[in-house]
Symmetry: D2
Subunit: 295 residues, 4 copies
Amino acid sequence: MKVGFIGLGRMGRAMASRILAAGHDLAVYNRTAAKADDLVARGATRAGTVAEAARHGGVTITMLENDRALSELAHGADGLIAAMAQGAIHVAMGTHSLSLVKALAAAHADAGQVMVGAPVMGRPPVAEAGQLGILAGGPEAAVATCAPLFEAMGRRTFAAGSEPAAAASAKIAVNMMLACAIEAMGEGFALAEKCGVAGATFLDILTDGLFAAPAYKTYGKIIADKAWLGEAGFTATTGLKDINLALAAGEAAGVPTPSVGVSRDRLISAIAKGLGDRDWTVMALEQARASGLED
Amino acid sequence: MKVGFIGLGRMGRAMASRILAAGHDLAVYNRTAAKADDLVARGATRAGTVAEAARHGGVTITMLENDRALSELAHGADGLIAAMAQGAIHVAMGTHSLSLVKALAAAHADAGQVMVGAPVMGRPPVAEAGQLGILAGGPEAAVATCAPLFEAMGRRTFAAGSEPAAAASAKIAVNMMLACAIEAMGEGFALAEKCGVAGATFLDILTDGLFAAPAYKTYGKIIADKAWLGEAGFTATTGLKDINLALAAGEAAGVPTPSVGVSRDRLISAIAKGLGDRDWTVMALEQARASGLED
Amino acid sequence: MKVGFIGLGRMGRAMASRILAAGHDLAVYNRTAAKADDLVARGATRAGTVAEAARHGGVTITMLENDRALSELAHGADGLIAAMAQGAIHVAMGTHSLSLVKALAAAHADAGQVMVGAPVMGRPPVAEAGQLGILAGGPEAAVATCAPLFEAMGRRTFAAGSEPAAAASAKIAVNMMLACAIEAMGEGFALAEKCGVAGATFLDILTDGLFAAPAYKTYGKIIADKAWLGEAGFTATTGLKDINLALAAGEAAGVPTPSVGVSRDRLISAIAKGLGDRDWTVMALEQARASGLED
Amino acid sequence: MKVGFIGLGRMGRAMASRILAAGHDLAVYNRTAAKADDLVARGATRAGTVAEAARHGGVTITMLENDRALSELAHGADGLIAAMAQGAIHVAMGTHSLSLVKALAAAHADAGQVMVGAPVMGRPPVAEAGQLGILAGGPEAAVATCAPLFEAMGRRTFAAGSEPAAAASAKIAVNMMLACAIEAMGEGFALAEKCGVAGATFLDILTDGLFAAPAYKTYGKIIADKAWLGEAGFTATTGLKDINLALAAGEAAGVPTPSVGVSRDRLISAIAKGLGDRDWTVMALEQARASGLED
C-alpha cells in the first residue's frame, strides 16, 4: 500500500518505521529533513515537500505535535488539501482540538477527500513495539482501508465513531481522566502521608486492588517517590495544553468538567513557580504544598 | 485463638464465618440476636451482651456500620472499654472517622488496652471468599497477634502505620479516590457521548489500557449502560457519608481536597432529586443532566 | 419587659447593655460570672444559674459562641428547657447549625415553649451602637413580642421566615457569600497584581462602582494592603467553622455549594501552614502563594 | 482635538457622541456605515475606511466587540497600524484578551506608535450619560494626552498601570469577580429558599448591609424574582466569552482561578440546555436545578 507520512518526531518515526517494516511503500516528510534519514536508509522515499508526500499514495498520515503545525501544512497552495487526490484519505494521528478536526474534515469533504481521525494511546516505546491503542473515527470504508496500517502500528484499533471528531473527543477524554486521576492521587497521597501512611504503602494499597492499572501504577510511583522533579515523561506545560483541549471540547459539546478545572489550576500554579518543563505529576507537588508539606 | 466479634451485618457475618472456619474459638454478638444464629449453629458461642463478647478472649473485633454504632457500644459501664481486660486488643474493622478512631485509641490506652484499626477493602462476596484487603494500623506487636485472624479473612494485609488512625486515613483516601474516579468518568463519558462515541466503546478504550482496573471496569460499566438507577451496590447516601469522612479527615490533617468537593456536590444534587438510595454512580447521571443529557 | 440574657461575650455584653439602656428588667448569666459585673452595676439582676435567668421573664435570649455551648445549657435538669415556663420564648441570637436549631425548636415545642431564631449581622462596635441587622425567624406572634428588644439592639429586623431554622439559614448563607467574595477578591487581586495593576488601584476600581459595599471595602483593603497577617477581625479557624455550617446546611437542604468548597480548601491550606488564628483574608494569601507570589 | 473613532455599536455611538458634544473634531467609521449617520448629522466627519479614520488625528479610539474584530482591522495594508502616523496613539476601549493587547502594543511600538488600553465599566445608558468608569493603562504621557477624551466619556479615569495589558487585566478581573458574585448568589439564594426564606427577603438582607452594591442589587433582584429568562442585559454566551478571557489571562499570568471555573461550568450547562441568549444569571437557574428546584 502506498502511504505518505508527515511528522517525524519520536512518535512519528516509530510509527512510520512499523509501517515500513510491514512492507508498505512509504514516502516520508519532516520539516527538519534529517529526521527522515534513518527511514530513508531503510527504504522509505524521501518527500521534499508536504505536497510530494501527499501525492505519494491514497493515504497520507500526519503525526504532528499540535494544532498549529497541522493547520499550517493543511492549507495553502502547497498544502495537504491542495495536493491530495480526490477520494484520498488523510489520517490525522496527533492529538488535536475538536474544532480543528471538525474544520479540517469539512475542508477535506469540500475537496472530495476523506478524513479519518486516529489519535493514539501510548508513549514512544509502545509505538516502537507496534503496541499503540488506536482510536479511529471516520467513514467506515475509509477506516477499513487504513486497517492494515493500523495493524502495523498498533495492538488494537477501536472503532470510535463515524466522525474524526468523535475519535478526537475520546482521546481528549482519556487524557483529561488521566489528569483527574493524578490530581486525585495528589490529594489521597497527601492525606495518607499526613496521617502516617508511607507513600510506598499507600501506592501498594491502591494498585493491588481497585486501582491496579497503568495510570495509577506509573504516576502513583512518581508521587510516592516524590520524584516529580526528575525526568519528565510528559511535562506540565504539555499537560496544560491537553487540559485546555478538554475544556474547549467540553465547551463546544456543552459538557461542564469541574474535575478537570481542578487539575488545570494545579498545573497553572506549578507553571507559575517555574515547573512547566517538569513531569505533570508536579500537580501532586502543588497539592503537597497546599497541604503544608514540601515548602 | 479466643476472639470476640461484634457486628454481624452482611460483612460482619462473612468475616466471622471465615474466622470460625479457620478453627478459632469465637464468641459473637449482634444487637439483633437472630443474625448470630447461623454462626452459633456452626459452633460459635452466643454472647448475650457486648461485655460478654469483649471478655471472651484477648482480641475483640468490631465491624460496625458507622461512628455512632461503634461509639455507643465502646463507652459506658457495660461497654467495650469497661469490659476488655488489661492488655487486650480491640480491632476496629469498620470505616470510621479519624476523630473517633483517635479518641477511641486514646481511651483504650488509658484503660491499658490496645487498639488496632483494620478497615477492609472488598464487598460482601469478597469477604465470603476470604479475599479482603486489610489495612492494619497499630502497634506492631498487636498487629502481629492479629495476623492469623487477618489471614483467615483476607487475601492480603497491608501494614498501614503504627496508629489506628493511619489505617483509617488510608481507607478514607481510597474511598475518596474512588469517588473522584467516578466523577471523572461521568465527565469523560458525557463528553465522549455528546461527541458521538458510544458508551460501550469508550468503556472499552478506557479499560483496555490506562484504566484497566476494577474501579473503572465496575463503575464504568454501570455508567456506560446508564444503569445507575438499577440495583445499588453502594448508595449515594452512603457515598456521601464516606465523602464527608474524607473532608473531615482532610480538615483534621490540613489537606485541601478540591476534587472530593466536586464529587460531594454531585451527590448532594442527586440526593436532592430523590436518588439517595440509588447507586452512587448517580454522580454520572447528575453530570449527564448538567450536560443537557438525561433530562 | 422582663428578660433573661445568657452569654456575655463581647457581643452579648453589648447587646444586653442596649436592652438594659432601653429600660427593660434584665437578668444576666454568664459562666464566668465576672463578665456580668458591669451590667449588674448598671442595674441588671445577676442570675446565679441558667435556670434563674430562664425563669426571670417570658423571654430568654442566648448569645453563645457555638453549637456545643448552646446545646449544653439547653438540656438537662438545670437547663434552659426545663427551667422555662410554658409559653415562654427562647430567642437564640448566636450563629448555629440548622440541625441544632431544628432540634432545639422541636424540643421547645414539646415543652410547650416557643423558639425564635434571631442571628445578627454586625461586629461588636456595631452591637454597641445598637445598629445590628437582626434576622428573625419564628412564629409571627413570638417575633412581635420580641420586637421592642430587637429595636433596642438593632438598626433593622428582617422577617426571615416562620421557623427559626430559616433565620439560621439566611445568616449562614450571608456568611458563605462573604467567604466567596473574599476568595474571588483573592483571585482578582492576584491577577491584577501579576499584570501590573497596584492593589490600591484595583481596590479603588472595584469599590468605586460595581462592588461599592462594605464586604469589598473592608476585606478588599486588607487584601490590597497585604495586611492579612495583622490583627484578626475574624479568624481563619472561625471562618472555617462558618463554612462548615454552610456545607452542612447545604447537605441538609439539598443544595450543592461549589464556590464555598473553594473557600474551604483555601482556609484548610492556610490553617495547615499555621495561620488559623489570623484574619480569614489569609484565603487571599493562599491564592497569592498558589500564583507564585508571596513565597 | 482631532480624533478618529472606529466601532459604532451601541456603546461606541454613545461614547463618540459624548466626544463630539465636548467639541472635539471627530471622524467616525463603522463597517455598517449607516450607524454613523446620526453622528455625521451632528457634525462628525464620515471616514470611508479604517485608514481614513486613523489618519484624521493623533488619537484613534477603537470600541470593538471582540478580539477578532479588533485584530482584523489592526493589521494589513489598509489597517490601523499601517495608517496611523508615527507617534500617534491608539486607544483600545473594548474588552480584549491579554494576549491580543500585548501583541498589538508590541506591533504599535514597532511602528513607532503608542497604544493605550482603556476598557470601560458601564452599560449603554451609563455611556450615554458620560458616566463610564475608564481603566486606563499605558505610557503616562499618552494617557495624559487622552485625558480630555476620557473626561468627555467618563465619570472617572483610573490609572491602571503603565501598560495596556494592565488595564485589560483589571477589566477582566472585575468581570470575573462579577461572575463569581452571581454564582455565589445562586448558591446563597438556593440555600435560603430551600430553608424557607423568601427570595425578596434574602435580597433585602444582603443588599441592606454587607453587599449593598450595584452588582448584588442588580443581579440579586433578577435571581430573587427568578427573572433569568426575561430580557437579557448580558447573555450567558457573552458571559462565557468573558470568563474565557479570565481563564486565559490567569493562565498567561500564572494565576489559578478556581472560583471562576465554577461559574464557567454553570454557564456551559445553561448553554447546553439552550439558554445561551438569556441573561447570564441563568447561572443561578442552573444552581437551582442542581438543588432540585426549577425542574
